[in-house]
Symmetry: C2
Subunit: 102 residues, 2 copies
DNA sequence: ATCAATTATCGTAATATTGCTATGAATATT
DNA sequence: AATATTCATAGCAATATTACGATAATTGAT
């Protein structure tokens, strides 16, 4: 990623925004979010919709969880993945704020 | 990135959106876009505002140009970088469309 | 008690990203 | 003509990302 000192010289909102952007910077993760927009899904249900191995999907879900765009309801042996509408809306508003400056 | 076959199984809009997201998935590139929102800038002017070497900034500019978020007006030995408001607005609308589905 | 189903994680490989220094190419200045 | 300015690119190193198969861990079913 780079030096720690470099990160410190960007504003919080710049760093936060770049992290959220990175979270949706892969078509699989966009596809996952779109699926979750329609229905809550287990990992397997997502695997069936994507051309990826289960472990890979699990990894992408982890990335989305890391920025709180989704939550995982653990009901073993399943985990039901759910959109975090709050953060989802926040990302929208952050992006809007950014683009409306122009 | 991965296999060519994998990319083909995502929709055009998913791929396009992920590419645009990737373009803004770094705080330096967000900072650059914000600078260009206020003023057209040469590479050097941007270098003076960021904690990065000239070559690194040049590379980030290249990334932004790749997705047409900015244009470079070459007036040697300078290049004046300018926001591409059209694509900028398009990214905004693409994101809005995406998020409003929820 | 076994076995199947589900998911997370580990280990690994291939590739991409990010950053730098050094350098080349083009133009302007002295 | 020599020098300075500006920018892009090449070359390189460190790290991150993306993908897979294999494997645990957990629960449900037989």
């Amino acid at each position: 990623m780079g030096l720690v000192t470099a990160v410190e010289s960007y504003s919080d909102s710049q760093v936060e925004m770049s992290k959220l952007a990175k979270a949706i910077a892969h078509p699989a993760r966009i596809a996952i979010l779109q699926l979750l927009t329609v229905n809550d899904c287990t990992c397997n249900e997502i695997v069936q919709q994507l051309p990826l191995a289960q472990s890979t999907v699990s990894q992408h879900l982890k990335e989305l969880k890391k920025v709180n765009l989704i939550d995982g309801l653990e009901i073993p042996p399943r985990t039901i993945y759910v959109l975090n509408h709050e953060v989802y809306a926040k990302l929208q508003s952050v992006l809007n704020k950014f683009f409306n400056i122009s």
